[in-house]
Amino acid sequence: MKIMNMVNAINQAIDLKLEEDPDIVVFGEDVGVEGGVFRVTENLQKKHGARRVFDTPLAESAIVGSAVGMAVAGLKPVIEMQFSGFVYPAMNQIISHVARIRNRSRGRYGAPMVIRMPYGGGINALEHHSESMEALFAHTPGLKVVIPSTPGDAKGLLISAIESEDPIIFMEPKRLYRAIKQEVSEDKYSIPIGQAKVLSHGSDLTVVAYGALIREVQRAMVKAKDMGISVELIDLRTIYPIDKTTVIESIKKTGRLVVVTEGPGSFGVGAELITIANEEAFLHLEAPPKRVSGFDTIVPLPKGEHHYIISPDKILFEIEKTVKY
């Protein structure tokens, strides 16, 4: 075991896989010499050579597009979008090819790859540098979407993602990159994609969250506990395919649901979870399921970010309201 932050843990996951599997290649903007703007791929080029870990021009469409060709030709690309908001020029490739090539070839070949991208707010940068667009990817058939909330989960989930035969969008909560440290095994281990994790067991209400917001919910839970509210917290970990079973079981137990997501609320992951609650656990509900989400707007300027970002107090307010309904 070693104390690691999320940057260390992700770096180690990629490092272990590069060592183990000669078909893995890592590339993107500044990932080689510089080790990425957040230093997630630091030293990997030194260790594994510029043939397998390399820098590309600023060309997101060609990065993802060429990764498709490489995957079809038998390599396993693990590529980085510098910020999740920089992925838009590559959306054509992601939606048209990454997600569809297996279907189009009727299962004869696919484009398994991992597209890593730091996402979400909290670093005082606006728009493209702070967006949470997991719902866009989750709404695209053919993509799996994974979001870790701890260093240990990031390592295990990324190893699963790299080993998957399906394309994975791996979204890293950049706000947590260096914010949390924990003991992480230095061995290779994997955490299955598609399985949520119950972080705290409780009886009054279920909160579902993921990524950077887990920490905010946990902060709200400290105050909720003082108020005598017992919260069951589920870390979704995989957005698609969504772990319905864990969520439904919990709602059936607590009868109440609050979903906390950072992206714009309308048509988002919260909407999906509440639909699941309605379709699968309606008669167990004792209060209307509630979303705590970002706003239907563009993530604002640095000085206005706190108006957008979800605070523990905002989460606590909805927890209390739902419990007292």
Partner: protein, 325 residues
Amino acid sequence: MIEVDIQKRLYKSMVLIRYAEEAIGDYRRDGVIKTPCHLYIGQEAIAVGVCDVLKREDTVWGTHRSHGHYLAKGANLSQMMAEVFGRFTGCSKGRGGSMHLVSPKEGILGTVPIVAATIPIAVGAALAYSMKREARVSVPFFGDGSTEEGHFFESMNLAAIYKLPVVFVLENNLQASHMHLLERRTSDNLDRLGDFYNMPSERVDGNDVQAVRDCAEKAVSRARRGDGPSIIEARTFRWRGHVDWREDDDVGLLREDTLSMWKPAKCPIELLKRQMLARGVEQNFFDEADGEVLNNVKDAVEYAVTSPVPDDTQLLTHVFVNSER
């Protein structure tokens, strides 16, 4: 001049594309084929000339107008016809139609109607061949309209800086959808596209199959030697409209004057035939070849119309590796 046996092979291959597509146009006009079809009639010399110097393991990448590339690369006629007719026996199991032809064994790994979208994939495949030290060549075919898309430039640059085994084949048929080249560009200078990337570029008469073949041979050998990519601008003209069997009188385009310059005077098949007759090939050869191809096309249509359509068990298959098969 190339050997007579090669000329005979080129002739048969061009006639195959012509007759197959004339049949497709007729069945489309009559409403038997339900899916839109973009015909390659008039441009046959390009696919045939280029693919004649490729090996089976080389890959070609296409567009919405790719019946010609598929057939010239040696993929199965009956399966293409079945696909265009939407049948389960088709090369894409009836899911692809005319615009998504797949035949991995012959190196047809993606024909997609999103303009320029397969160009970065072709570059990625070449990157994989180069990394794995395989002597394979990757050939994206695309129209002049593709050179107005961003993907194209990103891909040219990647191929050039990594010195990849790519032969970019620009089929300049002077029309992008329904707009003439000079309505879209300030000058007719697509033969200079390689200049920015220090990439050899050559303009060739795309209706002269021997000239195309000679030009492709140079570019393919260069790529296979590891000396990097080239771009070929093959000048041609699309006889039919952008889509389906008409000659664009349907959209009120004043195209007749230009079309009459090309059809039938510059027919690639007639041009080769005249060259062959002049060197003493007997008329008998052409009669037999035409008859044989026509019978093959009839058999393929028969195969298609008597094949089953996909049933509803196919709806949810192959979205992921483990989707229900």
